[in-house]
Each structure stands twice: as structure tokens, then as C-alpha cells.
């Protein structure tokens, strides 16, 4: 291991940890849930109301549940099951993505939130 390796590894870690801290400090609690399939909005719901929703996807089925202010993908018949194994989310800007079915579940702080806020908050 050379000295420059340490700079490289250290540099990446410092950038990562700083941005983690910034995200953690600035992230608000979520209020709304937006579900998109292939970029189109298919469902919007309040995070404070418990519900189970079956997301309409062409090639299968994804089922999500809102419970006590958290969203979780409780069922999916996609091949990789990554979305189902994803931890539950509750904070503004957090997402659960199902790549094979092109599903994105996204938490927003309010209904008027847009992409720009999401990137700069």
C-alpha cells in the first residue's frame, strides 16, 4: 500500500461521510408517498394513513404497505427480490426501487415537492 492509496481511500471516505452527515442533518420527515411505474405516477398516499396497495405493473405484482409512518415493499414477484429486502423508509427523499419492474416508491415532505428540492435539500 502506497501513501497515495491512503489519500485516495481517505478522500472517498471523507466525501462519503460528509455527505451522509449533510443528508442526515437536512433530511425532513416524510409526509407523502409517491409511486411511479416507468416514470409515470400511479399512486399517491399519505404516510400517516395505514394502507396496503398493490402496484399495477405489466409483468408481475408489487405490494407495498404503509404502516405507522413507514413504507415497506411487502411482496414482489420480481426475480431479484431486492425491493422486498429493502429496509422500511420514512424520510423525505428516500426511495425503494424495483429495477426489474421499473417501480419507484418515493417519500416526499409535501405534495408540492419537486425533483429540484429532492436534489438540493
Amino acid at each position: 500500500m502506497k501513501k497515495k492509496d491512503l489519500f485516495l481511500v481517505g478522500g472517498i471516505l471523507i466525501i462519503a461521510l460528509t455527505s451522509m452527515l449533510v443528508i442526515h442533518l437536512t433530511q425532513r420527515d416524510g409526509k407523502q408517498v409517491k409511486v411511479t411505474v416507468d416514470g409515470k405516477i400511479v399512486h399517491e398516499a399519505s404516510l400517516s394513513k395505514n394502507e396496503t396497495y398493490t402496484i399495477p405493473v405489466e409483468s408481475g405484482e408489487n405490494k407495498m404497505r404503509i404502516k405507522n409512518g413507514y413504507v415497506k415493499m411487502i411482496d414482489a414477484d420480481c426475480p431479484d427480490q431486492i425491493c422486498k429486502n429493502h429496509k422500511k423508509i420514512s424520510k423525505d427523499g428516500e426511495t425503494i426501487v424495483c429495477l426489474p419492474h421499473k417501480v419507484v416508491i418515493e417519500i416526499m415532505s409535501d405534495t408540492k415537492d419537486n425533483e429540484l428540492d429532492g436534489m438540493t435539500n
Binding site: 502506497k2 485516495l8 481511500v9 427523499g93 421499473k102 429532492g118 436534489m119
Partner: protein, 165 residues
């Protein structure tokens, strides 16, 4: 030529086996994209002991076959983006001669995550997916360092004449 094909086949097989081992031991973090990256170790050995072209061929064939055999055909494009970006970064960093396999592997691991996430952002048309990047930078660096130590040892132990064609 024949020897080259045989050698590449051997390394594709090796990379596939380690990919399968990774499928068998998932890391249950609840965050997608955290992987050990064992296959990257095989690719690194190829970059050091053969040519970047061979590393590229083995890497692409490995990703496509692993996706078809025990992964998910739909997500091959994501793995390819990660794999190719990772490889480009590692080849360029090696050319600078400033880094050891440990640093190069860490950069490669991080490159894999960046490539994969960028394709996800583009295809899903949702930039918020980038919020996962910091966590993945940390995990990619840690696993990259571990694989780098491993591959660095292998590179010095494997006699180079075995790879000469």
C-alpha cells in the same frame, strides 16, 4: 490464440464461480447494491497479469452469463454499467503508476456503485436514487480495500509466465 481462448475461458469460469458464491451469501443490510465484489478480484488479476482487453472481455462475458444463470436478465444492463466504469477507472489508475492494487481496487468498487446508480437514475428518471450514493461509497471502499489486499497478494504469487501466450 488457442491458449488465449482457453485462458479466458478459465477466468470466465472462475469469475462465474465467485459470482455464484456471492449470490449464496447475501449481505442483509436492507440497502441495495452492497456487495463483496469477489469477481472484481479476478478481473484485477487479469489487468495486472494479462491485458486490459482480456480483462474487459472476461468482465463483460462474466456479467452477462451471471445475469442469465443465477441473476436477473433485466438488470444485466445495470451490472454492465457498473462493471465497465469500474474497469475503466482501474485501468486508468494503474496507468498512472501512483497507486497499489489496494487503492485501485477501492476506486474500482466505488466506480461500480457509481455506474450502477447512474444508470438507475437515468432509466428510472429519478435523481433521488443518488441519496444512496454516500452509503455505497463507504461500503464500496471497504469491500474494495479487502478485495485489493487479496488480489494484490495473488498478483505477486501467480507466476507471470503462466499467463504468457
Amino acid at each position: 490464440m488457442t491458449k488465449k481462448i482457453a485462458l479466458n475461458g478459465l477466468f470466465v469460469a472462475l469469475a462465474l464461480v465467485v459470482s455464484y458464491i456471492e449470490v449464496l451469501i447475501p449481505i442483509p443490510t436492507g440497502i441495495p447494491g452492497i456487495k463483496i465484489g469477489l469477481a472484481n478480484g479476478v478481473i484485477m488479476v487479469l489487468i495486472w497479469l494479462t491485458t486490459w482487453k482480456q480483462a474487459l472481455i472476461v468482465s463483460v462475458v462474466r456479467i452477462v452469463l451471471a445475469g442469465l444463470l443465477f441473476g436477473n436478465p433485466v438488470t444485466i444492463v445495470y451490472s454492465l454499467a457498473g462493471g465497465i466504469l469500474s474497469l475503466i477507472i482501474m485501468i486508468l489508475l494503474k496507468k498512472t503508476k501512483a497507486f497499489s492494487p489496494v487503492g485501485i481496487s477501492a476506486a474500482g468498487g466505488v466506480g461500480h456503485n457509481v455506474g450502477q446508480l447512474t444508470i438507475a437514475v437515468l432509466l428510472m428518471e429519478n435523481a433521488k436514487i443518488y441519496l444512496y450514493l454516500p452509503v455505497l461509497l463507504v461500503s464500496g471502499t471497504i469491500t474494495g480495500v479487502v478485495i485489493g489486499v487479496l488480489a494484490g497478494t495473488l498478483i505477486t504469487k501467480i507466476p507471470k509466465r503462466l499467463m504468457e501466450i
